[in-house]
């Protein structure tokens, strides 16, 4: 009996991540990884959640959104407020932030995604700026000073397992029939429609799921830093996430994960380049779009089988999937 490929991969990933988790926790407990490194680890996990969820929208469905940081801020503020005011259990606060972000994503996506054309990009860009202005003007949310006094509820276990869960969910969505419908929208919207696919529905579905996970990541973020302010969720933050996805390869989850890990660690090591970071990122994006528009990994996933192909020196079979 051959197990279904998705199920098998899910089990492999789950086992591998549990092993990885224990190794990392052991390293942190024994202070081999000090507080500074564990902080970076937590931020990597949060960024991976954001990049993987953004990959569903940009990479799998082919819709450009520039408001991912905006949705993250909705989740961050909503979860923080509900914890401070009502002191609800942490998972409920996270879910509340995620659902609110998803709901607002639905309201934005409904008018913009039912149209052909690139309205989503500019609408989400506007939305990201507006949400920042609104938060700055609402006194109850701390206004421009920022919101402080958020209880520290996020720890490494939370972010790590929510990250694994997010990867698993997005992976399985991308390989379900809904995921194939989303990919068909990316490849050719008109042809997809002609095949009877309700393109608007799948575009909105991808966008809402992506926004939901951005909200969850926001909740984790605010409960980790204990202090958030509107500037942390500006437009340039959204560009960061787009860079992670585009560099790694649009449609490749392992690509997004590896580029997120690298691009989160790299600026820490290269502090002196910080002034130039926002020049290097856009330049890299332009160059990648010019010479390798599908991103470094394309839609391929990093796997053991890929290395087999490399050693045999033939890349032909890599395209054949589902065997």
């Amino acid at each position: 009996m051959k197990m279904k490929k998705e199920l098998r991969n899910t089990i492999i990933l789950l086992t591998a991540s549990i092993i990885l988790f224990f190794i990392l926790t052991y390293l942190m407990d024994t202070e081999i990884l000090n507080r500074y490194y564990s902080r970076i680890l937590v931020l990597i996990c949060i960024n991976v959640i954001l990049a993987v969820s953004l990959n569903l929208i940009i990479g799998v469905t082919g819709q450009l959104t520039l408001g991912h940081a905006g949705f993250m801020s909705i989740g961050a503020y909503a979860a923080a407020m509900i914890t401070i005011q009502l002191n609800v259990p942490f998972p409920i606060a996270l879910l509340f932030g995620g659902i609110l972000a998803g709901l607002i994503g639905f309201l934005i996506g409904l008018p913009t995604l039912s149209l052909k054309g690139d309205y989503l990009a500019i609408t989400t860009l506007g939305f990201g700026e507006i949400i920042r202005v609104l938060i700055t003007n609402i006194e109850q949310l701390g206004g421009g000073r920022g919101l402080s006094g958020i209880p520290p509820k996020t720890n490494f276990a939370w972010v790590f397992f929510i990250m694994v869960l997010t990867i698993l969910i997005i992976y399985n969505i991308a390989r379900s029939s809904q995921g194939r419908a989303m990919m068909s929208v990316r490849e050719d919207e008109i042809a997809a429609e002609a095949m009877g696919i309700n393109t608007t529905k799948y575009k909105i579905m991808a966008f809402v799921i992506g926004s939901f996970f951005a909200g969850i990541a926001g909740g984790l973020f605010s409960h980790y830093l204990m202090y958030i302010k509107p500037e942390q969720f500006g437009f340039l933050k959204s560009v960061d996430f787009v860079t992670y996805v585009v560099m790694g390869g649009m449609g490749s989850l392992t690509g997004s994960i590896s580029s997120t890990v690298i691009l989160t660690i790299l600026p820490e090591g290269l502090r002196f380049l910080n002034d130039y970071r926002m020049i290097i990122y856009p330049l890299a994006l332009i160059i990648i779009m010019r010479f390798r528009p599908q991103g470094l990994m394309g839609t391929k996933e990093l796997s053991m089988r890929m290395f087999d192909k490399f050693s045999k020196g033939s890349d032909k079979d890599a395209a054949i999937k589902g065997k």
């Binding site: 690139d118 500019i122 202005v133 649009m250 926002m278 856009p282």
Partner: protein, 292 residues
Amino acid sequence: MEFLQQAINGLSLGFVYALIAIGYTMVYGIIGLINFAHGDVFMVGAYFGFFAAVNLHLSFIPTLLIAMGGAALTGVIVEKVAYKPLRNSPKLSILITAIAMSVLLENLVRLKMTTDPQTYPENLLPQKVIHFLGLSIDNRQIIIILISIVLVIILQFIVFKTKTGKAMRAASFDKDAAALMGINVNSIISITFAIGSALAGAAGVLVGILYSSIDPYMGIMPGLKAFVAAVLGGIGIIPGALWGGLIMGLVETFSKVYISSSYSDAIAFSILIIILIVKPSGLLGKKTREKV
């Protein structure tokens, strides 16, 4: 009286939006791309004007011309370097390039000029208040309106009375057919970028004078609002951009006065959502059918 006063404020702001919106709409009309970097070309134009006025001590008209020339050059370089190699790539790649270009321009200027706002020279266009029928009108607002009208008339002349304009209209109608008729589509696209960017550069100087301060991120919000104006008027249609810009300017000014100044951005943005729901083709737009 208060109402008329605000209407004039709104009109001068509206003409600035219109000048930027025309660039969006022309580029969209000819290559179907939302040029995210357009708002930053507007910002670069403002800096060129600043440079001309402060370092070269030029008067208003030469400053305006240098800003327009500088912006046009920037626009053409952006097109040649970033968009032209991707002419046949998927939409997503071009959009990502456009947004990257926008961030790149902002940060290049930031690195060169510092993030702090620069004060536009006062003496470029000295302020005189004209009292007329109980209204007190700032002469600079009148000059801004007049300059914008002149620029729009020149644009209309270029588009409808010259051979280049005819080629532009032909290329926006059908690029392949235009190329078959011997039109050099690539150079027409560059000219389109140059004209649109020059208008944005002029708008940059006018905004510098109107608000007397410029910074590297000044292009984001006006660029966004000008895009809303272009969609409002019907994207791809030049007169539509003009009307859309005026409406946006008036709505913003009145909502600042009568509703709340901090939410005027949010109101501009809700206009976009409402048009997309009610009439996505815009006020002057015709319904088009999707072709394969």
